[in-house]
Amino acid sequence: MIDKTTKKIAFAVALASLIALLSPSTATAHPIKGVGDFYAGMLHPLTALEFLLPWIALSLFAGQQGRRAALLTLALFPLALMSGAGLSMILPSPTWLSAVDLAIIPILGLAVASAITCSSTVVVILVIAVGLLHGMANGSEIASPMSPWRFIPGLAAVAILVLAYGIGLVRSLKKPWTQIAVRVAGSWIAAVGIMVCAFKF
């Protein structure tokens, strides 16, 4: 018998492989041409690992924190992302932005790997900070003919999707070894982040 959790994991794996299959063709054109601005906003973070990896880590982290923190993350991250993208419309993006965005990857990965539990305040501060920084980085990629009014909601929509899948996955896991599997995923993301940080800094 296949239980519910297995089904959910199978679904998540299928989704991830679908994303992986879709990304190669789109990733070469980055900013994406030939799709509407809303979809460009959705695809932009999915086709860049510097956003996709920390988002996966953030969703797993939020799922580990319990119901209240998970819901707060789901609500606040898209809002912070949109605010950051909006900010990047009026302010020039700072030179240190990509470096800080890169440093976020091992931090979030290590948080998942260690299965640390944080107070809601810490989660909220972390989520808003990451949201603003990633929003600024994504927003600064909006090229002139693109409409930010469509790109930015697309960005928020895909953030909600990624977070909802990750949080839902972690919250549905009951067996002890599946929770370890989440930590293993976190340690993979942290390992990638540490090495790339060693390369860039």
């Binding site: 297995t6 190669p24 790997a113 930590r183 993979w188 390992a191 090495m195 790339v196 940080c197």
Partner: protein, 203 residues
């Protein structure tokens, strides 16, 4: 038999291993391009070296032999320690005898499986961690040459992790007496292969 059916992980692990063994020849025919190509080249890096495959599968099998908490601690800690070796490789920190260290890791980890060694968790972690540095270093030296370092890193970390999962999956047969004996044979095989690679480096 029913017990076996309840453990789908073993079947999955066998599938992953067999596909991993089949993959190298086909992938070489492609010219990697774009994020997916870089990811694939990173993913294939641990899989195209038999020394890496043997050692990583051995880590998983040994972890499964040791049981909890080692079986859970190793796959979480290994990538992190490996990334330290990877960072050394990225920065070009000199490290002597990387290939010898990797071959020695297969030899020694195979011996641990063959002898069903049960050192304290700290000692096991130190031994595995020591070798993790060499494996990470070997993959890390290639990272700065990748068009997309994140994709390359994600590729080889995931491939390494899946080799651990394969080893853990194989190691689950440890619960049956015949399975435990078979594992010791596998350990002997890994150890002999490691010895062969080691002699090969010196000859």
């Amino acid at each position: 038999m029913r017990q076996f059916r309840r453990e789908p992980l073993t079947g999955v692990a066998l599938l992953i291993i067999s596909s991993a063994l089949l993959a190298p020849a086909t992938v070489l025919a492609h010219n990697p391009a774009g994020v997916a190509g870089v990811f694939a080249s990173g993913f294939m890096h641990p899989l195209t070296g038999i020394d890496h495959i043997l050692a990583m599968v051995a880590v998983g099998i040994w972890g499964a032999q040791l049981g909890a908490p080692a079986i859970w601690a190793l796959p979480v800690a290994f990538p992190l320690v490996m990334s330290v070796g990877g960072a050394m490789g990225v920065r070009g920190v000199p490290l002597m005898g990387v290939e010898i260290g990797i071959a020695a890791s297969a030899l020694l980890l195979g011996l641990m499986i063959f002898s069903e060694a049960r050192p304290p968790l700290v000692a096991a972690a130190l031994l595995v961690g020591f070798f993790a540095i060499f494996h990470g270093y070997a993959h890390g030296t290639e990272l700065p040459h990748a068009a997309n370092p994140l994709a390359y890193g994600a590729g080889f970390v995931i491939a390494t992790g899946m080799l651990h999962v394969s080893g853990i999956g194989l190691g689950l047969v440890h619960r049956w007496p015949k399975g435990a004996r078979a594992l010791r044979l596998v350990g002997a095989g890994i150890s002999l292969a490691g010895l062969f690679l080691l002699v090969h480096h010196f000859s």
